[in-house]
């Protein structure tokens, strides 16, 4: 099945989305920290993460398993269950329908209930698990429509039929049950369901991971087309950086609960400014570029229960030094980047950046950066053997 996306939609394959968006962000996450309370202590799943999402923008959130990307998304909408607690920060949302910005973390349960889906919708990872097995597709689409909009049952059914049209599913499927649909169809139903009440933000949690590549392509094309038509913002969570390079406008790289780098897709692709991002880029083959050896990132993420001080990526970083143990993990501008919003958490691995001058960052006891990257400091040895980062 070919996907004719129309000439005005950037076809998949061209690097990067539309680049930077400006203006007031629709969703503004600031210093969000989320922890899981366990008997052994608090596991810091997300540690002071700040991220912006503008209207109509596609922001990709990439990281390996356990990096906290899903926790971030679900925590921001306060869908995490006990023992998760939000220990700090704010999540300000201001959609087009709202007069004032609201902090999601300060809303009551009822207020959240009316805001959920209508403003911020979620496409879950496994459609087979996220669709109610005993309700028909029609019921699952109409119940959310009727929960938020004052329409009659017939109107809701009509709207549900329109939604299926939107994702190219025959209307007869309204009467079907989830287990009667194919995997790709189920995922498209999930997308249609997410758009049922015309949200401003759609969080997509690895929506194509469970599908084969052909179907994956179709779905992604569909998503882009819908975004063109309805102009909603997307927070696209995945472990597959290669996807985001073509799909996203901006990409945020997450590791061990903290953001390592944020930039436009083009910048991330061609001028990555963090060792972790660089290693991620090298760990999948490129269809068009020259052949090169695949390298993974040996080692495992740190224990979030009692994280070591300094940069969390240090144990696995080939360019790390002792000075990295004492830095504070902050995002600072990459001066050499064409993108003014390009930030990175690594103070050292930048080509000609005399960091530390403007007071943006104060790595305690590090001295000048140039000494840190001089050959006088032995970098950590690279262990033999590789481990694939992306599953």
């Amino acid at each position: 099945m070919t996907t004719d996306l129309g000439s005005h939609v950037p076809a998949l394959g061209e690097s990067g989305g539309r680049g930077r968006f400006s203006g007031e962000p629709v969703l503004s996450i600031r210093d969000l920290s989320i922890a899981y309370r366990t008997l052994a202590g608090d596991v810091r799943a997300v540690d002071r993460v700040s991220l912006d999402l503008h209207a109509g923008e596609v922001v990709g959130l990439v990281g390996e398993s356990g990096s906290g990307k899903s926790t971030l998304a679900y925590g921001a909408t306060r869908l995490l269950r006990a023992p998760a607690v939000i220990t700090g920060g704010s999540v300000r949302y201001q959609g087009a329908r709202m007069d004032n910005p609201t902090d999601l973390l300060e809303l009551s349960a009822d207020q959240l209930m009316s805001l959920r889906w209508r403003e911020i919708a979620i496409v879950f990872q496994s459609a087979m698990n996220a669709l109610n097995p005993v309700l028909s597709i029609r019921d699952q689409l109409t119940d959310v429509i009727r929960a938020h909009l004052p329409v009659s049952r017939q109107e809701a059914t009509d709207k549900a039929a329109e939604l299926l049209d939107l994702v190219a599913i025959p209307r007869s499927r309204l009467r079907a049950y989830p287990h009667e649909l194919s995997g790709g169809m189920r995922q498209r139903v999930m997308i249609a369901m997410a758009l049922a009440t015309d949200p401003e933000v759609v969080i997509m949690d690895e929506p194509t991971t469970a599908l084969d590549v052909v179907v994956q392509r179709e779905i992604l094309g569909q998503i882009l087309e819908l975004r063109e038509r309805l102009n909603f913002a997307i927070l696209f969570i995945t472990h597959d950086l290669s996807l985001l390079l073509e799909l996203a406008d901006r990409i945020a790289v997450m590791y061990a609960g903290q953001l390592m780098e944020i930039g436009t897709a083009a910048e991330i692709h061609h001028e990555p400014s963090h060792p972790y991002t660089k290693r991620l880029l090298r760990s999948f083959p490129s269809l068009r570029g020259p052949r090169r050896d695949l390298t993974g990132i040996p080692g495992t993420p740190p224990d979030l229960l009692d994280p070591p001080p300094g940069c969390p990526f240090l144990p696995r970083c080939t360019e790390g030094t002792d000075a990295c143990k004492e830095i504070e993990v902050l995002l600072a501008k990459v001066r050499t980047s064409a993108d003014p919003s390009h930030v990175t958490a690594c103070p050292f691995v930048l080509p000609d950046d005399p960091a530390g001058g403007d007071g943006d960052r104060l790595p305690a006891g590090a001295g000048s950066v140039s000494s840190a990257v001089s050959p006088a400091v032995t970098p950590l040895p690279t262990p033999a053997g590789t481990t694939e980062v992306t599953s």
Partner: protein
């Protein structure tokens, strides 16, 4: 703004210090511990029963005044219609019932494991046949069948009862174990190992069975429960040997001698109560084993509390902002000294600021 769903933290940083590693016994759910203790009481009573019995349970005191006599110093649980001492009967009953329950449990569990594992391992017609057999005996109501079986036996003493009960007690466990075995060994592997001639018994004994220990344990407990219940019911109807002083038999005699209308509560309440308590001990044990095996059930008990406040699934993720802890009054301080979580929180608060990543950062970073 609006009323917020915030929870005041007891420690100002919002983060608790790691607790000591809890010992294995302490980590067991409370229910399991209570079950073990309660069951232990009965085991002790069974072991020391013969020593503790004040009288021979079948001894019928000819003294008329001692017929259906309420509890007294001489007879702690009173006497029956025939002047027998109820306490002695009950002690004997505990021993016999427990013996029977455990024996049936062992035999039936062994049979379940045998049938379940071999059905799953052999596959094909064997599996279908054994499954059909299990299902048929599961769906046929047990008690009427037991009555018919025992009704025809010439002798219905303890051994016969044990054998008959065990003979009908294995299907449930066999089904469960078979399902689990199938899950552990994908069928392809089993067929493959058969092709390569790997010794089936070795696989079963050293790999399949050890993986299912908690399931087999739960199955054993369930079977003992069933055995006790069934044997008491059978004895109550009078199908098993009424000369045996099992707990059910005591109730049989109590019922047939109109203990109820004579108000002789000491005759029928103790045995029934003990049966119920035995059942409770086993159910507690079972729930404990269930929670050990099913993390969701266990987590549900642990997770539901955040900072001492229970949360429902519909509650949004709670937000704890760093607020200074309220100064405790003398009374609250005293009460808190008994609370373990408060102790931990206080310890964390006093240690705060020592070595932590991310002390409050200067205004910089991403805008």
């Amino acid at each position: 703004m609006t009323a917020a769903l915030t929870i005041l933290a007891t420690d100002p940083t919002g983060l608790a210090a790691p607790a000591r590693q809890l010992g294995r016994w302490r980590r067991l759910p409370l229910k399991a511990k209570a079950g073990v203790v309660l069951f232990g009481v009965f085991v002790l009573a069974a072991i020391f029963g013969p020593i503790l019995e004040p009288y021979n349970p079948s001894y019928q005191n000819p003294n008329q005044a001692l017929s259906i006599a309420p509890p007294s110093a001489a007879h702690l649980l009173g006497t029956t219609q025939a002047g027998e001492d109820v306490l002695s009967q009950v002690l004997t009953g505990i021993r016999l019932t427990l013996e029977l329950g455990l024996a049936v449990g062992l035999i039936a569990t062994f049979l379940s494991v045998l049938v379940g594992v071999s059905g799953a391992y052999l596959g094909g017609l064997w599996d279908d046949g054994l499954s059909l057999l299990s299902n048929v005996f599961l769906v046929i109501p047990a008690l009427p069948l037991l009555i018919v079986l025992l009704g025809y036996l010439p002798r219905t003493g303890q051994t016969a009862t044990i054998l008959v009960l065990a003979g009908l007690g294995w299907p449930w466990g066999a089904r469960v174990i078979r399902a689990q075995t199938l899950a552990i060994r994908g069928r392809d592997f089993v067929a493959a190992s058969r092709e390569t001639g790997e010794s089936g018994w070795r696989i079963i004994a050293f790999e399949i069975v050890p993986n299912q220990v908690s399931l087999i344990a739960a199955n054993f407990v369930n079977t003992v429960l069933y055995a006790i219940g069934a044997s008491v019911a059978l004895a109550f109807i009078g199908v098993t040997n009424t000369a045996n002083w099992s707990l059910g038999t005591i109730l049989y005699w109590a019922q047939s001698q109109q203990a109820l209308s004579q108000g002789a509560w000491w005759w029928f309440v103790p045995p029934g109560l003990i049966v119920a308590l035995m059942g409770l001990a086993l159910v507690l044990l079972n729930t404990g084993i269930d929670e050990l095996g099913n993390p969701r059930l266990r987590d549900a008990n642990q997770r539901a509390k955040v900072n001492g406040r229970r949360l429902r699934p519909s509650d949004p993720t709670p937000v704890l902002h760093a607020t200074p802890a309220p100064r405790p009054t003398a009374v609250t301080a005293f009460m808190r000294s008994f609370s373990r979580s408060a102790y931990l929180a206080d310890r964390a608060a006093s240690r705060d600021g020592a070595t932590r990543v991310g002390a409050p950062k200067p205004s910089g970073g991403q805008r």
